[in-house]
Symmetry: C2
Subunit: 302 residues, 2 copies
Protein backbone atom coordinates (compact mmCIF):
# COMPACT_ATOMS: atom_id res chain seq x y z
CA UNK A 1 0.00 0.00 0.00
CA UNK A 2 1.10 3.53 -0.77
CA UNK A 3 -0.38 6.48 1.13
CA UNK A 4 -0.27 9.84 -0.61
CA UNK A 5 -0.87 13.30 0.83
CA UNK A 6 -0.95 16.49 -1.20
CA UNK A 7 0.63 19.12 1.06
CA UNK A 8 -0.11 22.09 -1.17
CA UNK A 9 -1.57 22.91 -4.55
CA UNK A 10 -0.02 26.26 -5.47
CA UNK A 11 2.42 27.16 -8.20
CA UNK A 12 4.97 29.94 -8.65
CA UNK A 13 4.69 31.61 -5.26
CA UNK A 14 3.40 30.73 -1.81
CA UNK A 15 0.24 32.65 -0.99
CA UNK A 16 -1.78 33.25 2.15
CA UNK A 17 -3.90 30.10 2.50
CA UNK A 18 -2.22 28.27 -0.38
CA UNK A 19 0.89 26.16 0.16
CA UNK A 20 3.11 25.35 -2.76
CA UNK A 21 2.56 22.08 -4.59
CA UNK A 22 4.24 19.19 -2.83
CA UNK A 23 3.42 15.50 -2.46
CA UNK A 24 4.21 13.35 0.57
CA UNK A 25 4.32 9.56 0.12
CA UNK A 26 4.34 6.94 2.84
CA UNK A 27 5.03 3.27 2.34
CA UNK A 28 5.84 0.66 4.94
CA UNK A 29 7.28 3.10 7.45
CA UNK A 30 9.28 5.29 5.06
CA UNK A 31 8.40 8.74 3.77
CA UNK A 32 9.30 10.21 0.41
CA UNK A 33 8.67 13.87 -0.39
CA UNK A 34 8.21 15.15 -3.92
CA UNK A 35 9.24 18.82 -4.18
CA UNK A 36 9.52 21.26 -1.29
CA UNK A 37 8.85 24.90 -2.05
CA UNK A 38 9.00 27.61 0.58
CA UNK A 39 6.82 26.73 3.55
CA UNK A 40 6.38 23.02 2.80
CA UNK A 41 7.44 22.00 6.29
CA UNK A 42 4.43 23.87 7.73
CA UNK A 43 1.64 21.68 6.24
CA UNK A 44 3.97 18.72 6.78
CA UNK A 45 3.86 19.55 10.50
CA UNK A 46 0.13 20.13 10.35
CA UNK A 47 -0.71 16.69 8.96
CA UNK A 48 1.60 14.90 11.38
CA UNK A 49 3.03 12.15 9.18
CA UNK A 50 6.33 12.94 10.90
CA UNK A 51 9.79 13.93 9.69
CA UNK A 52 12.18 11.34 11.11
CA UNK A 53 11.31 8.66 8.60
CA UNK A 54 11.80 10.95 5.60
CA UNK A 55 14.21 8.79 3.63
CA UNK A 56 14.15 10.53 0.25
CA UNK A 57 13.26 13.81 -1.42
CA UNK A 58 12.59 13.82 -5.15
CA UNK A 59 12.95 17.18 -6.88
CA UNK A 60 11.29 17.74 -10.23
CA UNK A 61 13.43 20.79 -11.03
CA UNK A 62 15.25 23.70 -9.45
CA UNK A 63 12.79 26.57 -9.55
CA UNK A 64 12.44 28.16 -6.12
CA UNK A 65 8.77 27.22 -5.74
CA UNK A 66 9.81 23.55 -5.81
CA UNK A 67 13.00 23.60 -3.76
CA UNK A 68 13.29 26.68 -1.52
CA UNK A 69 11.88 24.81 1.47
CA UNK A 70 14.71 22.27 1.44
CA UNK A 71 16.82 23.79 4.27
CA UNK A 72 13.80 23.96 6.56
CA UNK A 73 12.86 20.36 5.81
CA UNK A 74 16.41 19.20 6.47
CA UNK A 75 16.40 21.01 9.84
CA UNK A 76 13.03 19.57 10.82
CA UNK A 77 14.20 16.07 9.94
CA UNK A 78 17.27 16.65 12.12
CA UNK A 79 15.16 17.96 14.99
CA UNK A 80 13.00 14.84 14.72
CA UNK A 81 16.05 12.70 15.43
CA UNK A 82 16.94 11.09 12.11
CA UNK A 83 20.45 9.67 11.88
CA UNK A 84 20.07 7.42 8.81
CA UNK A 85 21.06 8.90 5.43
CA UNK A 86 18.56 10.94 3.45
CA UNK A 87 18.78 10.75 -0.32
CA UNK A 88 17.87 13.62 -2.63
CA UNK A 89 17.01 12.76 -6.23
CA UNK A 90 16.75 15.34 -8.97
CA UNK A 91 17.80 16.40 -12.43
CA UNK A 92 21.43 17.19 -13.30
CA UNK A 93 22.89 20.03 -11.20
CA UNK A 94 20.95 18.97 -8.12
CA UNK A 95 24.24 18.55 -6.24
CA UNK A 96 25.15 22.18 -6.78
CA UNK A 97 21.67 23.38 -5.80
CA UNK A 98 21.63 21.34 -2.61
CA UNK A 99 25.15 22.49 -1.71
CA UNK A 100 24.11 26.11 -2.22
CA UNK A 101 21.01 25.86 -0.06
CA UNK A 102 22.91 23.98 2.63
CA UNK A 103 24.85 27.13 3.54
CA UNK A 104 22.08 27.49 6.12
CA UNK A 105 21.88 23.78 6.97
CA UNK A 106 25.55 22.78 7.03
CA UNK A 107 25.60 20.51 10.07
CA UNK A 108 23.09 17.69 10.13
CA UNK A 109 23.09 14.50 12.21
CA UNK A 110 22.54 12.41 9.07
CA UNK A 111 24.20 12.14 5.68
CA UNK A 112 22.59 13.83 2.67
CA UNK A 113 23.25 11.89 -0.53
CA UNK A 114 22.43 13.46 -3.87
CA UNK A 115 21.54 11.35 -6.90
CA UNK A 116 21.25 13.13 -10.24
CA UNK A 117 18.96 11.34 -12.67
CA UNK A 118 19.02 11.13 -16.46
CA UNK A 119 16.43 10.44 -19.14
CA UNK A 120 14.48 7.24 -18.56
CA UNK A 121 16.60 6.35 -15.55
CA UNK A 122 15.23 3.81 -13.10
CA UNK A 123 16.21 3.91 -9.46
CA UNK A 124 15.35 2.43 -6.08
CA UNK A 125 13.39 4.38 -3.53
CA UNK A 126 12.90 3.30 0.10
CA UNK A 127 10.68 0.39 1.12
CA UNK A 128 10.70 -1.30 -2.24
CA UNK A 129 9.43 1.59 -4.32
CA UNK A 130 10.84 1.76 -7.83
CA UNK A 131 11.23 5.13 -9.54
CA UNK A 132 11.59 6.10 -13.16
CA UNK A 133 11.92 9.55 -14.71
CA UNK A 134 11.59 11.30 -18.03
CA UNK A 135 12.32 14.89 -18.87
CA UNK A 136 9.41 17.15 -19.62
CA UNK A 137 9.53 20.44 -21.48
CA UNK A 138 9.89 23.47 -19.22
CA UNK A 139 12.03 26.60 -18.88
CA UNK A 140 14.51 24.51 -16.84
CA UNK A 141 15.29 20.78 -17.07
CA UNK A 142 12.30 19.21 -15.32
CA UNK A 143 11.73 15.56 -14.42
CA UNK A 144 8.42 13.70 -14.42
CA UNK A 145 8.37 10.80 -11.95
CA UNK A 146 6.67 7.45 -12.06
CA UNK A 147 6.79 5.31 -8.91
CA UNK A 148 5.81 1.63 -8.74
CA UNK A 149 5.36 -0.61 -5.76
CA UNK A 150 5.62 -4.13 -7.24
CA UNK A 151 3.54 -6.87 -5.69
CA UNK A 152 5.29 -10.12 -4.83
CA UNK A 153 4.08 -13.23 -6.67
CA UNK A 154 2.11 -15.59 -4.48
CA UNK A 155 4.01 -18.61 -3.08
CA UNK A 156 2.19 -21.78 -4.07
CA UNK A 157 2.49 -24.00 -0.99
CA UNK A 158 0.58 -26.84 -2.59
CA UNK A 159 2.98 -26.91 -5.52
CA UNK A 160 6.00 -26.74 -3.17
CA UNK A 161 4.64 -29.75 -1.27
CA UNK A 162 4.06 -31.64 -4.50
CA UNK A 163 7.67 -31.00 -5.48
CA UNK A 164 8.80 -32.31 -2.11
CA UNK A 165 10.63 -29.16 -1.11
CA UNK A 166 11.31 -29.34 2.66
CA UNK A 167 9.25 -26.70 4.43
CA UNK A 168 12.30 -25.14 6.11
CA UNK A 169 13.62 -24.25 2.63
CA UNK A 170 10.49 -22.34 1.55
CA UNK A 171 11.77 -19.12 3.10
CA UNK A 172 15.25 -19.35 1.50
CA UNK A 173 13.61 -20.24 -1.82
CA UNK A 174 11.49 -17.08 -1.76
CA UNK A 175 14.45 -15.01 -0.61
CA UNK A 176 17.20 -16.38 -2.84
CA UNK A 177 15.19 -17.55 -5.84
CA UNK A 178 16.47 -21.14 -5.68
CA UNK A 179 17.35 -23.91 -3.25
CA UNK A 180 19.04 -27.29 -3.45
CA UNK A 181 18.31 -30.33 -1.34
CA UNK A 182 19.10 -34.04 -1.69
CA UNK A 183 20.69 -33.38 -5.08
CA UNK A 184 17.58 -31.65 -6.38
CA UNK A 185 17.05 -28.02 -7.42
CA UNK A 186 13.95 -25.82 -7.23
CA UNK A 187 13.63 -22.24 -8.49
CA UNK A 188 11.09 -19.54 -7.86
CA UNK A 189 9.45 -20.26 -11.19
CA UNK A 190 8.50 -23.71 -9.85
CA UNK A 191 6.52 -22.39 -6.91
CA UNK A 192 5.45 -18.81 -7.61
CA UNK A 193 2.06 -17.88 -8.95
CA UNK A 194 1.50 -15.54 -11.88
CA UNK A 195 2.71 -11.93 -11.94
CA UNK A 196 0.43 -9.64 -9.95
CA UNK A 197 -0.34 -6.03 -10.57
CA UNK A 198 1.35 -3.64 -8.15
CA UNK A 199 0.32 -0.06 -7.42
CA UNK A 200 1.77 3.06 -8.94
CA UNK A 201 1.53 6.80 -9.22
CA UNK A 202 3.14 9.53 -11.26
CA UNK A 203 3.96 13.17 -10.62
CA UNK A 204 4.08 15.42 -13.65
CA UNK A 205 4.62 19.11 -13.02
CA UNK A 206 6.20 22.13 -14.64
CA UNK A 207 6.17 20.73 -18.12
CA UNK A 208 4.21 20.85 -21.31
CA UNK A 209 2.20 17.65 -21.94
CA UNK A 210 4.80 16.22 -24.31
CA UNK A 211 4.07 12.82 -25.92
CA UNK A 212 7.11 11.17 -24.32
CA UNK A 213 5.38 11.40 -20.94
CA UNK A 214 2.47 9.20 -22.03
CA UNK A 215 4.35 5.88 -21.81
CA UNK A 216 5.92 6.96 -18.51
CA UNK A 217 2.57 7.39 -16.79
CA UNK A 218 0.88 4.48 -18.56
CA UNK A 219 -1.75 2.86 -16.37
CA UNK A 220 -0.80 4.39 -13.03
CA UNK A 221 -3.41 4.33 -10.28
CA UNK A 222 -2.94 8.04 -9.65
CA UNK A 223 -1.55 10.85 -11.74
CA UNK A 224 -0.74 14.03 -9.82
CA UNK A 225 -0.40 16.59 -12.58
CA UNK A 226 0.11 20.29 -12.80
CA UNK A 227 -2.72 22.40 -14.17
CA UNK A 228 -1.35 25.89 -13.84
CA UNK A 229 -4.03 27.49 -16.01
CA UNK A 230 -7.67 26.63 -15.60
CA UNK A 231 -8.73 27.89 -19.01
CA UNK A 232 -7.38 27.50 -22.51
CA UNK A 233 -7.41 31.28 -22.92
CA UNK A 234 -4.02 31.12 -21.17
CA UNK A 235 -2.59 28.57 -23.60
CA UNK A 236 -0.10 31.05 -24.99
CA UNK A 237 1.30 31.50 -21.47
CA UNK A 238 1.27 27.75 -20.92
CA UNK A 239 3.43 27.31 -24.02
CA UNK A 240 5.74 30.17 -23.11
CA UNK A 241 6.33 29.11 -19.50
CA UNK A 242 6.17 25.34 -19.96
CA UNK A 243 2.93 24.59 -18.12
CA UNK A 244 -0.51 23.08 -18.87
CA UNK A 245 -4.17 23.97 -18.83
CA UNK A 246 -6.79 21.86 -17.07
CA UNK A 247 -7.78 20.41 -20.43
CA UNK A 248 -4.23 19.47 -21.35
CA UNK A 249 -3.68 17.80 -18.01
CA UNK A 250 -6.88 15.79 -18.42
CA UNK A 251 -5.88 14.75 -21.94
CA UNK A 252 -2.54 13.50 -20.64
CA UNK A 253 -4.38 11.45 -18.00
CA UNK A 254 -6.72 10.04 -20.65
CA UNK A 255 -3.92 9.21 -23.08
CA UNK A 256 -1.95 7.57 -20.26
CA UNK A 257 -4.91 5.39 -19.24
CA UNK A 258 -4.46 6.39 -15.59
CA UNK A 259 -7.11 5.56 -13.03
CA UNK A 260 -7.44 8.90 -11.28
CA UNK A 261 -6.13 12.43 -11.76
CA UNK A 262 -5.32 15.05 -9.13
CA UNK A 263 -4.77 18.54 -10.46
CA UNK A 264 -2.26 20.75 -8.65
CA UNK A 265 0.20 23.66 -9.09
CA UNK A 266 -2.59 26.16 -9.66
CA UNK A 267 -1.44 29.59 -10.77
CA UNK A 268 -1.84 32.55 -8.47
CA UNK A 269 -4.44 33.91 -10.89
CA UNK A 270 -6.74 30.96 -10.09
CA UNK A 271 -8.39 31.73 -6.75
CA UNK A 272 -10.92 28.85 -6.88
CA UNK A 273 -9.43 25.73 -8.49
CA UNK A 274 -12.76 23.87 -8.41
CA UNK A 275 -14.64 26.50 -10.37
CA UNK A 276 -13.30 25.45 -13.76
CA UNK A 277 -13.01 21.74 -12.99
CA UNK A 278 -15.39 20.82 -15.86
CA UNK A 279 -12.63 21.89 -18.25
CA UNK A 280 -10.84 18.76 -17.01
CA UNK A 281 -13.72 16.38 -16.17
CA UNK A 282 -15.21 16.85 -19.64
CA UNK A 283 -12.10 15.07 -20.90
CA UNK A 284 -11.21 12.83 -17.94
CA UNK A 285 -14.09 12.38 -15.49
CA UNK A 286 -12.21 10.99 -12.50
CA UNK A 287 -10.40 14.25 -11.73
CA UNK A 288 -10.05 16.03 -8.40
CA UNK A 289 -8.92 19.64 -7.94
CA UNK A 290 -6.11 19.10 -5.44
CA UNK A 291 -6.07 20.83 -2.08
CA UNK A 292 -3.79 20.85 0.93
CA UNK A 293 -4.67 17.71 2.88
CA UNK A 294 -6.03 15.64 -0.01
CA UNK A 295 -5.05 12.05 0.69
CA UNK A 296 -5.58 8.56 -0.66
CA UNK A 297 -4.19 5.04 -0.30
CA UNK A 298 -3.27 2.90 -3.26
CA UNK A 299 -3.97 -0.71 -2.26
CA UNK A 300 -3.18 -4.01 -3.91
CA UNK A 301 -6.43 -5.54 -5.13
CA UNK A 302 -7.28 -9.21 -4.72
Amino acid sequence: MIDLLLLGNGGMQPLPNRWLSSLLVRVDGSLVLFDCGEGTQIPMKQFKWGFRRLAAICLTHHHADHVAGLPGILHSVANAGRTEPLRIFGPPDTGRIVAGLRVIAPDLPYAVEVVELGEDEQFDLPSGLRGRVRFGEHTLPSLAYRVDLPRARRFDARRATELGIPQDLWGPLQHDGQVEWAGRLATGEDVLGPERRGVSFALVTDTRPVPSLVPLIDGVDLLVCEATYSNDDKLEKAHRWGHMSYRESAELARDGHVRQLWLTHFGSGNPDPEADLPNATNVFPDTIAGYSGLTTSLRFGD
Copy 2:
Protein backbone atom coordinates in the same frame (compact mmCIF):
# COMPACT_ATOMS: atom_id res chain seq x y z
CA MET B 1 7.72 59.11 10.35
CA ILE B 2 8.61 55.43 10.43
CA ASP B 3 5.92 52.76 10.00
CA LEU B 4 6.66 49.34 11.45
CA LEU B 5 4.89 46.04 10.87
CA LEU B 6 5.68 42.81 12.65
CA LEU B 7 5.20 40.10 10.02
CA GLY B 8 5.64 37.16 12.36
CA ASN B 9 6.50 36.38 15.96
CA GLY B 10 7.85 32.82 15.88
CA GLY B 11 11.33 31.52 16.55
CA MET B 12 13.25 28.44 15.48
CA GLN B 13 10.72 26.93 13.04
CA PRO B 14 7.70 28.11 11.07
CA LEU B 15 4.51 26.63 12.48
CA PRO B 16 0.92 26.41 11.29
CA ASN B 17 -0.56 29.81 12.21
CA ARG B 18 2.75 31.31 13.33
CA TRP B 19 5.09 33.03 10.89
CA LEU B 20 8.72 33.45 11.77
CA SER B 21 9.83 36.68 13.39
CA SER B 22 10.41 39.43 10.84
CA LEU B 23 9.98 43.20 10.89
CA LEU B 24 8.98 45.35 7.93
CA VAL B 25 9.81 49.06 8.03
CA ARG B 26 8.47 51.77 5.75
CA VAL B 27 9.77 55.32 5.55
CA ASP B 28 9.10 57.89 2.88
CA GLY B 29 8.38 55.39 0.15
CA SER B 30 11.14 52.89 0.90
CA LEU B 31 10.82 49.53 2.60
CA VAL B 32 13.43 47.82 4.76
CA LEU B 33 12.98 44.23 5.94
CA PHE B 34 14.65 42.86 9.05
CA ASP B 35 15.16 39.10 8.79
CA CYS B 36 13.30 36.76 6.46
CA GLY B 37 12.79 33.21 7.65
CA GLU B 38 10.95 30.61 5.61
CA GLY B 39 7.53 31.89 4.58
CA THR B 40 8.11 35.59 5.29
CA GLN B 41 6.90 36.61 1.84
CA ILE B 42 3.45 35.19 2.66
CA PRO B 43 2.46 37.65 5.45
CA MET B 44 4.30 40.31 3.46
CA LYS B 45 1.82 39.67 0.63
CA GLN B 46 -1.06 39.54 3.08
CA PHE B 47 -0.44 43.01 4.53
CA LYS B 48 0.07 44.59 1.12
CA TRP B 49 2.89 47.03 1.82
CA GLY B 50 4.30 45.91 -1.51
CA PHE B 51 7.61 44.46 -2.68
CA ARG B 52 8.90 46.79 -5.38
CA ARG B 53 10.13 49.44 -2.98
CA LEU B 54 12.06 46.98 -0.84
CA ALA B 55 15.42 48.75 -0.87
CA ALA B 56 17.25 46.90 1.90
CA ILE B 57 17.19 43.69 3.91
CA CYS B 58 18.98 43.61 7.25
CA LEU B 59 19.91 40.16 8.55
CA THR B 60 20.62 39.68 12.23
CA HIS B 61 22.40 36.35 11.69
CA HIS B 62 22.48 33.30 9.46
CA HIS B 63 20.28 30.75 11.19
CA ALA B 64 17.71 29.37 8.78
CA ASP B 65 14.74 30.76 10.70
CA HIS B 66 16.03 34.27 9.94
CA VAL B 67 17.23 33.91 6.36
CA ALA B 68 15.70 30.90 4.56
CA GLY B 69 12.98 33.07 3.00
CA LEU B 70 15.50 35.22 1.16
CA PRO B 71 15.21 33.59 -2.30
CA GLY B 72 11.44 33.89 -2.22
CA ILE B 73 11.60 37.54 -1.20
CA LEU B 74 14.10 38.27 -3.98
CA HIS B 75 11.79 36.63 -6.54
CA SER B 76 8.73 38.50 -5.28
CA VAL B 77 10.63 41.79 -5.47
CA ALA B 78 11.59 40.94 -9.05
CA ASN B 79 8.01 40.02 -9.95
CA ALA B 80 6.89 43.37 -8.54
CA GLY B 81 9.08 45.15 -11.09
CA ARG B 82 12.03 46.46 -9.11
CA THR B 83 15.06 47.45 -11.15
CA GLU B 84 16.95 49.58 -8.61
CA PRO B 85 19.62 47.85 -6.51
CA LEU B 86 18.64 46.06 -3.32
CA ARG B 87 21.17 46.07 -0.51
CA ILE B 88 21.54 43.24 2.01
CA PHE B 89 23.21 44.06 5.32
CA GLY B 90 24.37 41.43 7.76
CA PRO B 91 27.20 40.10 9.87
CA PRO B 92 30.45 38.82 8.36
CA ASP B 93 29.95 35.91 5.93
CA THR B 94 26.66 37.34 4.65
CA GLY B 95 28.12 37.42 1.14
CA ARG B 96 28.72 33.67 1.17
CA ILE B 97 25.26 32.97 2.59
CA VAL B 98 23.50 35.14 0.02
CA ALA B 99 25.54 33.60 -2.80
CA GLY B 100 24.60 30.12 -1.59
CA LEU B 101 20.89 30.83 -1.39
CA ARG B 102 20.94 32.58 -4.76
CA VAL B 103 21.50 29.25 -6.54
CA ILE B 104 17.70 29.34 -6.82
CA ALA B 105 17.48 33.09 -7.54
CA PRO B 106 20.41 33.63 -9.91
CA ASP B 107 18.87 36.00 -12.43
CA LEU B 108 17.21 39.11 -11.05
CA PRO B 109 16.32 42.34 -12.82
CA TYR B 110 18.09 44.36 -10.12
CA ALA B 111 21.51 44.26 -8.49
CA VAL B 112 21.91 42.67 -5.07
CA GLU B 113 24.64 44.38 -3.06
CA VAL B 114 25.87 42.78 0.15
CA VAL B 115 27.31 44.87 2.98
CA GLU B 116 28.93 43.00 5.87
CA LEU B 117 28.87 44.98 9.12
CA GLY B 118 31.30 45.01 12.04
CA GLU B 119 31.01 45.92 15.71
CA ASP B 120 29.53 49.36 16.30
CA GLU B 121 29.44 50.10 12.59
CA GLN B 122 27.16 52.89 11.41
CA PHE B 123 25.66 52.81 7.93
CA ASP B 124 23.09 54.52 5.74
CA LEU B 125 19.75 52.91 5.04
CA PRO B 126 17.25 54.19 2.43
CA SER B 127 15.26 57.39 2.86
CA GLY B 128 17.57 58.96 5.42
CA LEU B 129 17.51 56.15 7.97
CA ARG B 130 20.76 55.66 9.86
CA GLY B 131 21.70 52.23 11.14
CA ARG B 132 24.10 51.07 13.80
CA VAL B 133 24.88 47.54 14.97
CA ARG B 134 26.46 45.72 17.84
CA PHE B 135 27.11 42.03 18.24
CA GLY B 136 25.04 40.13 20.74
CA GLU B 137 25.87 36.77 22.27
CA HIS B 138 24.38 33.81 20.42
CA THR B 139 25.44 30.45 18.98
CA LEU B 140 26.36 32.28 15.76
CA PRO B 141 27.57 35.89 15.28
CA SER B 142 24.37 37.89 15.67
CA LEU B 143 23.81 41.61 15.15
CA ALA B 144 21.47 43.88 17.10
CA TYR B 145 20.27 46.85 15.05
CA ARG B 146 19.44 50.39 16.03
CA VAL B 147 17.84 52.62 13.39
CA ASP B 148 17.42 56.39 13.68
CA LEU B 149 15.52 58.78 11.50
CA PRO B 150 17.03 62.21 12.31
CA ARG B 151 14.77 65.22 12.20
CA ALA B 152 15.90 68.22 10.18
CA ARG B 153 16.44 71.46 12.13
CA ARG B 154 13.80 74.09 11.50
CA PHE B 155 14.67 76.86 9.00
CA ASP B 156 14.24 80.23 10.64
CA ALA B 157 12.74 82.43 7.92
CA ARG B 158 12.59 85.49 10.16
CA ARG B 159 16.31 85.23 10.88
CA ALA B 160 17.10 84.69 7.19
CA THR B 161 15.18 87.84 6.35
CA GLU B 162 16.99 89.79 9.04
CA LEU B 163 20.31 88.64 7.56
CA GLY B 164 19.15 89.89 4.15
CA ILE B 165 19.56 86.53 2.45
CA PRO B 166 17.70 86.68 -0.87
CA GLN B 167 14.72 84.35 -0.74
CA ASP B 168 15.78 82.46 -3.87
CA LEU B 169 18.92 81.37 -1.98
CA TRP B 170 17.03 79.85 1.00
CA GLY B 171 16.68 76.52 -0.79
CA PRO B 172 20.36 76.30 -1.78
CA LEU B 173 21.34 77.35 1.75
CA GLN B 174 19.36 74.49 3.27
CA HIS B 175 20.64 72.06 0.67
CA ASP B 176 24.32 73.05 0.52
CA GLY B 177 24.82 74.38 4.05
CA GLN B 178 26.07 77.79 2.85
CA VAL B 179 25.50 80.47 0.22
CA GLU B 180 27.29 83.59 -0.94
CA TRP B 181 25.67 86.69 -2.34
CA ALA B 182 26.91 90.27 -2.88
CA GLY B 183 30.22 89.38 -1.21
CA ARG B 184 28.53 88.04 1.89
CA LEU B 185 28.38 84.50 3.32
CA ALA B 186 25.68 82.73 5.31
CA THR B 187 25.84 79.20 6.72
CA GLY B 188 23.22 76.84 8.06
CA GLU B 189 24.18 77.72 11.62
CA ASP B 190 22.95 81.27 10.96
CA VAL B 191 19.42 80.23 10.05
CA LEU B 192 18.69 76.80 11.56
CA GLY B 193 16.87 76.28 14.83
CA PRO B 194 18.01 73.97 17.63
CA GLU B 195 18.58 70.23 17.19
CA ARG B 196 15.32 68.29 17.27
CA ARG B 197 14.70 64.76 18.47
CA GLY B 198 14.24 62.22 15.70
CA VAL B 199 12.56 58.83 15.96
CA SER B 200 14.24 55.50 16.40
CA PHE B 201 13.76 51.80 16.96
CA ALA B 202 15.94 48.80 17.69
CA LEU B 203 15.72 45.12 16.86
CA VAL B 204 17.41 42.75 19.26
CA THR B 205 17.00 39.05 18.59
CA ASP B 206 18.85 35.78 19.04
CA THR B 207 21.15 37.04 21.73
CA ARG B 208 21.59 37.03 25.46
CA PRO B 209 20.80 40.44 27.04
CA VAL B 210 24.47 41.43 27.21
CA PRO B 211 25.31 44.85 28.77
CA SER B 212 26.89 46.17 25.57
CA LEU B 213 23.43 46.27 24.00
CA VAL B 214 22.11 48.78 26.54
CA PRO B 215 23.85 51.85 25.06
CA LEU B 216 22.89 50.71 21.55
CA ILE B 217 19.16 50.79 22.29
CA ASP B 218 19.31 53.80 24.59
CA GLY B 219 16.12 55.85 24.42
CA VAL B 220 14.61 54.34 21.27
CA ASP B 221 10.90 54.81 20.72
CA LEU B 222 10.40 51.10 20.12
CA LEU B 223 12.44 48.06 21.02
CA VAL B 224 11.49 44.88 19.17
CA CYS B 225 13.14 42.21 21.24
CA GLU B 226 13.23 38.44 21.28
CA ALA B 227 11.60 36.65 24.19
CA THR B 228 12.04 33.03 23.26
CA TYR B 229 11.10 31.68 26.69
CA SER B 230 8.13 33.02 28.59
CA ASN B 231 9.26 31.76 31.97
CA ASP B 232 12.51 31.85 33.86
CA ASP B 233 12.29 28.10 34.39
CA LYS B 234 13.86 27.89 30.91
CA LEU B 235 16.78 30.15 31.81
CA GLU B 236 19.27 27.32 31.49
CA LYS B 237 18.13 26.82 27.88
CA ALA B 238 18.23 30.59 27.31
CA HIS B 239 21.88 30.62 28.36
CA ARG B 240 22.76 27.53 26.35
CA TRP B 241 21.11 28.65 23.11
CA GLY B 242 21.72 32.39 23.40
CA HIS B 243 18.17 33.60 23.92
CA MET B 244 16.15 35.51 26.55
CA SER B 245 13.18 35.08 28.82
CA TYR B 246 10.30 37.58 28.97
CA ARG B 247 11.78 39.02 32.15
CA GLU B 248 15.22 39.47 30.64
CA SER B 249 13.80 41.19 27.59
CA ALA B 250 11.81 43.56 29.80
CA GLU B 251 14.89 44.33 31.89
CA LEU B 252 16.82 45.19 28.75
CA ALA B 253 14.03 47.58 27.73
CA ARG B 254 14.01 49.15 31.17
CA ASP B 255 17.79 49.53 31.31
CA GLY B 256 17.80 51.02 27.80
CA HIS B 257 15.12 53.59 28.72
CA VAL B 258 13.11 52.68 25.64
CA ARG B 259 9.56 53.94 25.22
CA GLN B 260 7.81 50.74 24.22
CA LEU B 261 8.68 47.06 23.94
CA TRP B 262 7.39 44.48 21.50
CA LEU B 263 8.20 40.88 22.37
CA THR B 264 8.75 38.45 19.51
CA HIS B 265 10.57 35.24 18.46
CA PHE B 266 8.44 33.09 20.74
CA GLY B 267 9.63 29.51 21.06
CA SER B 268 7.53 26.70 19.64
CA GLY B 269 6.84 25.60 23.22
CA ASN B 270 4.93 28.84 23.87
CA PRO B 271 1.47 28.40 22.33
CA ASP B 272 -0.05 31.57 23.84
CA PRO B 273 2.48 34.42 24.05
CA GLU B 274 0.07 36.67 25.94
CA ALA B 275 -0.49 34.24 28.78
CA ASP B 276 2.77 34.97 30.56
CA LEU B 277 2.97 38.63 29.61
CA PRO B 278 3.00 39.73 33.28
CA ASN B 279 6.49 38.22 33.48
CA ALA B 280 7.50 41.16 31.28
CA THR B 281 5.05 43.90 32.28
CA ASN B 282 5.96 43.48 35.96
CA VAL B 283 9.38 44.81 34.92
CA PHE B 284 8.51 47.05 31.97
CA PRO B 285 4.83 47.96 31.78
CA ASP B 286 4.61 49.21 28.20
CA THR B 287 5.13 45.80 26.65
CA ILE B 288 3.13 44.11 23.89
CA ALA B 289 3.27 40.41 23.01
CA GLY B 290 3.96 40.71 19.30
CA TYR B 291 1.72 39.10 16.69
CA SER B 292 1.63 38.92 12.93
CA GLY B 293 0.13 42.22 11.80
CA LEU B 294 1.10 44.33 14.82
CA THR B 295 1.87 47.80 13.49
CA THR B 296 2.73 51.27 14.71
CA SER B 297 4.01 54.59 13.40
CA LEU B 298 6.83 56.51 15.05
CA ARG B 299 6.08 60.19 14.52
CA PHE B 300 8.11 63.32 15.15
CA GLY B 301 6.51 65.21 18.04
CA ASP B 302 6.06 68.99 18.04
